[in-house]
Amino acid sequence: MAANADIFEYKEPWGGPFGLSVALHVALFGGMLLYGALHGTGESWGGTGGGGGDAMSARLVSTIPLPAKQGENVLATESKGLTQSKPKEVIEEAEAIPIPDKATKKKQKETPAAKEKPREVAEAVDNEIPFGEGGPVSGPYGVFNTAGAKGGFGFTGGGGDFGSRYSWYVDTVRRKVSENWLKYEIDPGISSAQRVYIYFEIARNGQPKSIRVEQSSGIPSLDQSAMRALQRIDTFGPLPNDYNGSNVAVEFWFDYKR
């Protein structure tokens, strides 16, 4: 019984503070309304100078400080989307600047200078004759075509002549990747996409390893289907016997168009 009495006594004290709180809130909102009435010009939210719209575009740009990066990353040149002219607007907006810095730093770290070669490759690729249509693999690079999709790659290992010395092996890699790329894994709603770049290495025994998306297409299902194409492959076959290196690095790109 004594306990009950305690509880009742305990409840009573917060009635006062509650009343005080209500009074304070009323005063606060009242003050705000009053301020609005005195200083408000009737502009709507974000209405000043259409600033809302600008702010939006500025943000987008800030995430694409890529233009600077593109100079170094060969890969980036391939994708039209990354070279949009919008980014410049960002610079005008002071707020957006800090974020771009972060982004650019990261990107620079990820892309070693060594990858400049692939760029040339990718451009040259378009002119090459695909395997089986009469043309040899003329360099360390190649392309493949399958219904509605296209892929290509560059070998960056073994002193640079791996592709020309072992073009048959390069062909094998190209064939095997294209065979294992199952396009039904890609979101059927996608009709076309930016190029996705996959990096991987081939160990001496032919196993692909260190598979990663080097540059995303922005469409997760496409990125994943490209990754899975490589993960599905147990081996490309051992590297040629007379090849001295311990592994070969390969950069593979996928273009998708339905």
Binding site: S167, W168, T172, G206, R232, D234, T235, G237
Partner: protein, 441 residues
């Protein structure tokens, strides 16, 4: 004819299935684009009287092996230059790499017989890359017999397939085990993948069914009526006799090896209803995997993961293909209609091949044909269309071929085909032959 049938079949499918034809071919390692390969006849490098006969065998086997591999487009011999190389010095890349032969690769060499020995030198050259043309160079030396000429041709073909096929061994040295009644009883027989060297394995003078070779090729598990049963029996290829295996009572059928060779799955009616049981390879540690009303038979392991089994279940009426985890959890039905039996899981774990009568019942003129289904997406493709009853598919170790049984030639015979349905060939002719099973390597 087959192609037109295929096209008609494809046209009947929905547009989503249209895309499937494309990837089914690729998923099985059968690229849409094949390597143009020229294989001029090997040159005789000796005058020994045996040379001619052995050379003929060698050339025929090598050509057949490479043509059957499924990854080459063989350049017709009528396009070859008159000067055929027998050694690297004679090889002229421009003569082979340009039209008319327009070959990407050329396999050539020479064969000599002397002092009872057969010596073969073989090369594989890249005709489109004159600067670094040699891909492969091999020498073989064996006793001069017709069998060895075949063996050497098989090995050289395997090397070429291994190099150009992306590290997947060819099947030229694999074996097919099957049931044949040609001796008067249904016994287990074996043969090379191309039908050569057919030999009787068991001699139990009873009925032996559903042979399954172990992954290490040392034993054959099968169903035997030798002592009542049928029971699961085990034949040792090393001892060349049956070895003991426990008898569980009831009807025990269709054993299946796990890929690591440590477990067997089979169906047993020891407790009434046929259910799937799993035991260790010696028959111990028996445990039940399924427990539903209706028959559950013909289990097969996912050879890639060893964590799943597919089997035939009659729990929903007509037999259908089901898949579940090895402990029986997550049973899932894969086929949605008709009468589906005899599942076989592809070596890469991606596909199930099975026999299916899609339209089953009165008034439905359904034929039993071989289909393959992508397990993940459930999309399927029909592989046989040529009539007869087609059943008991089994995958080759490279996942590019399927062996099956068909009655299209009038009686039950063993046939092989590429996993896209092309290159169908009858490989047995004598007696009735059925239930083929392809070795693991």
């Amino acid at each position: 004819m087959r192609k037109t049938l295929l096209l008609i079949g494809i046209a009947l499918l929905s547009s989503t299935l249209l895309a499937q034809q494309d990837w089914i071919r690729t998923g099985t390692g059968l690229g849409v684009e094949k390597i143009r390969l020229a294989v001029p006849e090997f040159k005789a490098a000796s005058t020994d009287p045996q040379t001619g006969a052995l050379l003929k065998t060698f050339n025929a086997v090598l050509w057949n092996d490479l043509e059957s591999a499924g990854i080459f487009e063989m350049v017709s011999k009528s396009f070859y230059p008159l000067q055929v190389p027998g050694a690297p010095n004679d090889f002229k890349p421009e003569a082979w790499g340009n039209p008319p032969p327009d070959a990407a690769m050329v396999a050539f060499g020479n064969l000599a017989v002397g002092n009872g020995r057969l010596a073969v030198q073989g090369w594989l050259f890249d005709a489109k890359n004159p600067q670094a043309a040699q891909v492969l160079g091999k020498q073989y030396n064996e006793a001069a017999t017709d069998d060895n000429a075949r063996v050497i041709a098989h090995r050289f073909a395997n090397e070429i397939i291994f190099r150009l096929g992306g590290g997947i061994m060819g099947i030229t040295e694999s074996k097919i085990f099957f049931v044949s009644a040609r001796s008067g009883n249904k016994e287990i027989w074996s043969m090379d993948y191309d039908g050569a060297n057919q030999k009787q394995v068991t001699n139990l003078r009873s009925i032996s069914l559903s042979p399954r070779i172990s992954p290490d090729s040392s034993r054959i598990a099968f169903s035997s009526f030798a002592q009542g049963g049928p029971n699961i029996a085990m034949w040792s290829l090393e001892l060349n006799r049956a070895v003991t295996f426990p008898r569980f009572g009831g009807t025990n059928l269709s054993p299946a090896w796990s890929a690591d060779g440590t477990k067997l799955a089979f169906s047993s009616s020891r407790n009434g209803d046929p259910e799937i049981y799993i035991s260790d390879a010696n028959g111990s540690n028996l445990r039940r995997m399924t427990s539903y009303r209706g028959p559950d038979v013909s289990p097969v392991w996912n050879p890639k993961t060893g964590a799943q089994l597919a089997w035939v279940s009659g729990r929903s009426g007509l037999p259908q293909i089901w898949v579940a985890d090895a402990d029986g959890a997550n049973p899932t039905r894969l086929t949605d209609q008709g009468y589906a039996v005899s599942p076989a899981w592809s070596p890469n774990g991606q596909f199930l091949a099975f026999a299916w009568i899609r339209k089953y019942g009165p008034g439905a003129p359904g034929a039993s044909d071989i289909y393959i289904m992508d397990v993940a997406s459930r999309q399927w493709v029909q592989l046989t269309h040529d009539g007869g009853r087609n059943d008991f598919p089994s995958w080759s170790p490279d996942g590019r071929h399927i062996v099956f049984q068909s009655t299209r030639s009038g009686s039950e015979q063993v046939w092989t085909m590429l996993a896209d349905g092309s290159q169908q060939k009858q490989v047995t002719t004598s007696g009735r032959n059925s239930q083929p099973n392809w070795s693991w390597k």
